[in-house]
């Protein structure tokens, strides 16, 4: 039996080996070809436009050194609405933009020229940017799990002090993976600075010496406390200077209000807030059509019938792109397993009907047996 794990609607990993995992964001700054999987559904073009407009105005100021600026990009939205993919897309565009500043002045389209001259295979690791270090805090789990937890403790309980301390160390550790940076960092022969501010300043000074900017990608950290979440935003903003750009992802839907309330108007010029939201019914067809044109998807594949494109999911299913992906992936998988050859609308409709939220599926646990009472 051939490999039944369909790679449709997944995210190609490095080297594109099947099966493609799900729930992974597209990271075009990291893997080539991810940008080709981008679908401009609903809100994303607006968000990207906002980002491009903001960055277009400030990007030239983002550079290392005393007179350099930084920036804070906050991407918020409910889970499954494409926050991470948007964030990585923005990182990719920023890297392209900053690298473009490094290109010779006579080259009018650095991005396109880079893309056209791309020697890499599809889904291969992208070559590091020339002018930017991108540091992704935590791994691919796309969450700050364990980032601020003490060893051996419950993994989901973040502590603020421990988190910011570890972020600073992780940045240095990941930057030191670059030999030149490591040489510059260790070559200074200075003892490790216990003071957080001075340690950070040493880092930016080293970046300045190398002429590199720094992009830090921070996943959502479940603070479970609005005050601490605000403190953390303040921490990221304070560190976004001298060519350091923080991309912070958060599931908090109130973050826009926090930014307006707890940051001054002047401070907000150094902050870009992007939001994701639910899909629209027409995004379903847009998404499927795009995927039908995607090349280099590993077998097995399945034909998608046109009636599937005409299907209109109910609004509850459009809250999360992950749910659409789940649906398409699972029905594709079943079609492959059943050797049905193509995906039909009925498959999709049945799946949605089966997964429609029903109150009875959310009943409380049966009452615990108590002395003198019967089990409910």
């Amino acid at each position: 039996m051939p490999n039944a794990n369909c790679s449709l609607f997944g995210t190609p990993p490095e080297d594109g080996h099947a099966p493609w995992p799900t729930y992974e964001p597209l990271a075009p700054w990291h893997i080539t070809g991810h940008e080709d999987l981008w679908v401009d559904i609903d809100h994303l073009p607006n968000a990207l436009l906002t980002f491009r407009n903001t960055m277009g105005a400030v990007a030239r100021g983002i550079r290392p050194g005393e007179d350099g600026h930084g920036h804070l990009v906050v991407v918020s939205g409910l889970p499954g609405t494409g926050k991470s993919s948007l964030l990585h897309r923005c990182v990719h565009e920023l890297v392209q933009l900053l690298d473009g500043f490094e290109e010779p002045a006579d080259d009018p389209a650095p991005c396109e020229s880079t893309a056209s001259a791309r020697p890499e295979r599809p889904w291969s690791r992208r070559r590091p940017a020339r002018s930017v270090h991108v540091v992704r805090i935590d791994g691919s789990a796309n969450e700050g799990r364990g980032l601020g937890s003490p060893p051996g403790a419950e993994p989901f309980v973040p502590q603020y002090d421990m988190t910011v301390h570890r972020i600073a160390h992780l940045i240095v550790e990941k930057l030191c993976a670059d030999e030149e940076f490591a040489a510059a960092w260790h070559g200074a022969d200075r003892p490790e600075q216990p003071d957080p501010y001075l340690a950070w300043r040493r880092l930016t000074t080293t970046l300045e010496a190398r002429g590199r900017t720094l992009v830090v990608i921070v996943p959502h950290i479940d603070w479970q406390d609005a005050d601490i979440a605000r403190r953390f935003l303040r921490f990221c903003y304070d560190r976004s200077t001298r060519g350091v750009v923080f991309f912070v992802e958060t599931k908090r839907t109130d973050v826009g209000r926090d930014l307006d309330t707890f940051f001054t108007e002047k401070e907000r010029t150094g902050i870009t807030h992007l939001q994701t939201s639910a899909l629209r019914p027409q995004d379903w067809g847009k998404y499927l059509r795009h995927w039908m044109e995607v090349r280099d998807i590993p077998a097995p594949k399945i034909v998608i019938h046109d009636d599937v494109l005409e299907y209109q999911p109910e609004t509850w299913a459009l809250l999360s792109i992950s749910r659409l992906q789940d649906c398409l992936r699972q029905v594709s998988q079943e079609a492959v397993l059943n050797d049905e050859g193509q995906l039909r609308m009925s498959h999709v409709a049945d799946w949605f009907e089966a997964h429609r939220p029903k109150p009875d599926a959310f009943l409380r646990e049966p009452g615990t047996t108590r002395h003198g009472q019967e089990t409910r």
């Binding site: 409910l78 889970p79 499954g80 003490p150 419950e154 993994p155 989901f156 309980v157 973040p158 502590q159 603020y160 002090d161 421990m162 479940d222 603070w223 479970q224 406390d225 609005a226 005050d227 601490i228 979440a229 599931k251 908090r252 839907t253 109130d254 639910a278 109910e314 609004t315 509850w316 809250l319 999360s320 429609r356 939220p357 029903k358 109150p359 959310f362 009943l363 409380r364 646990e365 009452g367 615990t368 108590r370 002395h371 003198g372 009472q373």
Partner: protein
């Protein structure tokens, strides 16, 4: 060969059944496991009036069928030491623990300044009680469900499709699990947490607890929050979120109890807190006590408003000092002294406790009837005292009976009979352990620094001896002549002891005069309320008991009070003498003033002698033959009118009273109705005489000469006068002076006048058979 084990006769216990049973102690945890063969600590419960009330209230609370919020109540068991407050509280906890299904119950047997230890170590945490834990989580889940429903109600994303209404209704009806919904629909948990904290803060009025309760829904936080709620140190991530210190202060512990009250109250199930020995707080520093009372007041309010049952024990002194709001919210159940019936049942219950058969042995044997009555008297109806006396009397009887045996060994089993002497011996033995010398030393210790110590008694009473077995009396000299005698005596158990004290007091009073001496009796032993009253009745002072922990302060207060009383006695004596003198002077002055008044009146109104009869010049028209009778009658009536009837009225200042210290008062002259009537009659009589004279004169002149006058006309006039006089009221002039005719009154004067006129004038008429007019 060994003798068979002795069996108690009639199922009575071998050992003293009253040992280890006098103090009830509440247990924080429900533990009915019997370890070993020791006492069960169950005690003997004698249902009384207060017990029945308490049971009634608890059953009403548990059986409440209305709104859960309206079931709340706070009950105070108020009574003096040893009346059984703790015992009743323990019975209440047993009753509550028997309830099915079990209810959350917290028991604090004794508040402490170190409330953290009480809270952490001695108080049941929800985690100690599985059912309470489930209730707690259910209640918190209810809060969470409400908040989730509220947020979903504001949500416009249509994420539930057509079933939106069913989801909201299911959440509010506690049917659906809010956490499952939040996770399945990717709701913003932090927003829900934020709203939940705000909501809980509104209801708990406490930010820290609101944060903690909200975090109970974060599984990673749950264990740490429970640790903190159980009194543990908050972990780092809780500290970052505002939970910075453990629950340790008095206020925090009561806040925690209030939050538990809130949570369980919201669950609609009964829950209770029993707090014994609230009086311990009176020994705390003022600040801690104030904090405790404030926090306790808040807790009572929460329990009453949120459907809880709060039961606490307090002595009357503390109960009276509690804030007014507590008095308004708390129902006090007062514990009274026990009567003979309850005492008998208590004793019988202990004696027959070993039988373990309900209702066995209602009699108090081996206690004899006089002994039982004596126990009632000597214990003042305090159950703890009853049990202590019984314990001692039992041992005394066993020793007495052993002493009577030849081998001097105690007979196995209970004593045959416990009599009055055993009770008295037990009391003397239990309370007479301190030597009289110690009393003397203590008195010196208290009195000497205050300069109240007088080594020697007054000279005149040096020969007096103290009552039998009493200590040497001590004396405090208040003034040169006044003294306080402090008389130490052993236990006052019977009337003989009281008589001994009375004899001493009588002799001291007879020597030093009652107003110059006060005797304060100090009982180095036991004195029941009745005996104290008897002594107080005779001495005028309440005896002090040397064993009383407040003896020193009571002694100081007592001596101060008696000093004041003696000084007041002295002042009263001087004032009395001065008052007597003043009264004498005032009386003399009143008498003198009276005499002066009389003289003054006599001068201003001299009583002149009646004018001598003069020539009849008054009215020349009156016929000459009758002028004299008319004049005499007129003069007699004038004199009577001048003298008046009854005593002569006197005006002017009144005579001072016996006190003589008041200013002279105006005097009101009064007379009687009969007197006024008599004087009116006199006046009328005179007018009648004048009318008679006018009529006679007219008759005389109308006749012209003797021939013209007829006897009939004269008769008519005279008879008219006569019958008019007859209807005049009788005038009793009381005259006995020289002006009064012997045996004569006004009637005689007037009647005589008619006759005189008739006879005098008739003779001058022509002969006529008119004489037949009569």
């Amino acid at each position: 060969m060994t003798s068979p084990p002795a069996r108690p006769p009639e199922g009575r216990p071998l050992k003293n059944p009253f040992r280890e049973s006098t103090v009830a102690q509440l247990e924080a945890f429900d533990d009915s496991t019997q370890i070993g063969t020791g006492p069960t600590g169950a005690g003997v419960h004698i249902p009384g009036r207060t017990s029945a009330w308490l049971t009634e209230h608890i059953e009403a609370y548990l059986g409440h069928r209305g709104e859960p919020e309206t079931r709340g109540r706070a009950i105070a068991l108020v009574g003096e030491f040893g009346l059984g407050k703790s015992h009743l509280a323990r019975e209440a906890t047993r009753l509550l623990r028997k309830h099915v299904p079990p209810l959350p119950l917290w028991v604090i047997s004794q508040p402490s300044i170190d409330m953290r230890t009480v809270y952490q170590e001695r108080l049941t945490s929800p985690r100690d009680d599985f059912d309470a834990f489930v209730d707690f989580k259910q209640a918190i889940t209810d809060f969470y469900a409400d908040v989730t429903a509220e947020i979903l109600g504001e949500d416009d994303t249509d994420r539930f499709g057509a079933d939106r209404g069913a989801f909201l209704e299911g959440l509010r009806a506690r049917r659906l699990d809010p956490q499952k919904i939040v996770q399945a629909f990717n709701l913003d948990e932090e927003r829900i947490q934020h709203r939940l904290r705000r909501h809980l803060r509104g209801v708990t009025a406490h930010r820290t607890f609101a944060v903690a309760l909200a975090q109970l829904f974060n599984r990673p936080f749950e264990n740490d929050v429970w640790n903190w709620l159980s009194g543990g140190e908050p972990v780092a991530h809780l500290r970052e979120r505002g939970i910075r210190e453990p629950i340790r202060s008095i206020q925090q512990v009561f806040d925690a109890l209030a939050v538990f009250s809130l949570v369980y109250g919201k669950s609609g199930r009964p829950y209770a807190l029993v707090l014994d020995e609230l009086d311990k707080t009176t020994e705390w520093p003022e600040q801690d006590r104030a904090v405790f009372i404030n926090a306790f007041e808040m807790l009572v309010e929460r329990y009453v408003n949120q459907g809880g049952l709060l039961l606490f024990c307090a002595r009357p002194e503390l109960w009276g000092r509690l804030p007014l709001s507590l008095h308004e919210r708390v129902l006090p159940l007062w514990l009274d002294s026990w009567g003979p019936a309850e005492t008998d049942r208590l004793i019988a219950g202990h004696v027959h406790r070993a039988d373990r058969t309900p209702g066995a042995g209602p009699d108090g044997a081996p206690f004899a009837e006089p002994a039982l009555r004596e126990i009632v008297l000597q214990s003042d109806g305090v159950p703890r005292q009853i049990l202590q006396i019984c314990e001692g009397a039992w041992d005394q009887a066993v020793r007495r009976e052993a002493g009577a045996r030849e081998d001097r060994r105690p007979r196995p089993g209970p004593p045959r009979e416990i009599g009055l002497t055993d009770v008295h011996a037990a009391l003397r033995s239990a309370h007479g352990k301190r030597d009289m010398a110690e009393v003397a030393h203590r008195l010196q210790h208290v009195l000497a620094p205050r300069q109240w110590w007088h080594h020697m008694p007054p000279v005149s009473v040096r020969s007096l001896s103290a009552p039998r077995e009493g200590g040497e009396p001590r004396w405090v000299q208040v003034t040169r002549r006044t003294w306080i005698a402090l008389l130490p005596v052993p236990s006052v158990l019977a009337q003989d002891d009281v008589h001994g004290i009375q004899r001493f007091v009588d002799r001291v009073r007879s020597v030093l005069a009652p107003e110059n001496v006060e005797v304060l009796v100090i009982v180095n032993g036991h004195a029941c309320r009745e005996m104290r009253n008897r002594v107080a009745e005779h001495c005028g002072t309440v005896p002090l008991v040397f064993d009383d922990p407040r003896f020193e302060s009571m002694l100081i207060d007592g001596v101060r009070s008696l000093i004041e009383r003696l000084r007041a006695n002295g002042r009263n004596a001087v004032l009395g003498e001065v008052r007597d003198q003043l009264e004498t002077i005032a009386t003399q002055q009143a008498m003198l003033a009276d005499r002066i008044d009389a003289v003054d009146h006599a001068v201003n109104h001299p009583r002149l002698p009646p004018p001598t009869p003069g020539p009849p010049t008054s009215d020349p028209r009156v016929p000459p033959p009758v002028r004299e009778p008319f004049r005499q009658a007129q003069a007699a009536l004038d004199r009577l009118l001048e003298d008046g009837v009854g005593p002569r009225p006197r005006l002017g200042p009144a005579v001072p009273g016996a006190e003589g210290a008041h200013a002279a008062l105006p005097r009101r002259a009064t007379t009687e109705q009969t007197t006024l009537q008599a004087m009116g009659a006199l006046l009328y009589a005179r007018r009648l005489v004048e009318a008679f004279r006018e009529a006679i004169t007219h008759w005389w002149e109308a006749g012209g000469d003797a021939d013209g006058r007829n006897a009939q006309g004269l008769f008519t006039v005279c008879r008219s006068f006569e019958i008019s006089v007859e209807v005049l009221p009788r005038v009793d002039t009381g005259e006995s002076g020289p002006g009064a005719r012997a045996g004569g009154g006004v009637e005689e004067v007037l009647t005589g006048l008619a006759e005189q006129v008739w006879f005098a004038l008739r003779d001058g008429l022509s002969a006529e058979p008119g004489g037949a007019a009569r």
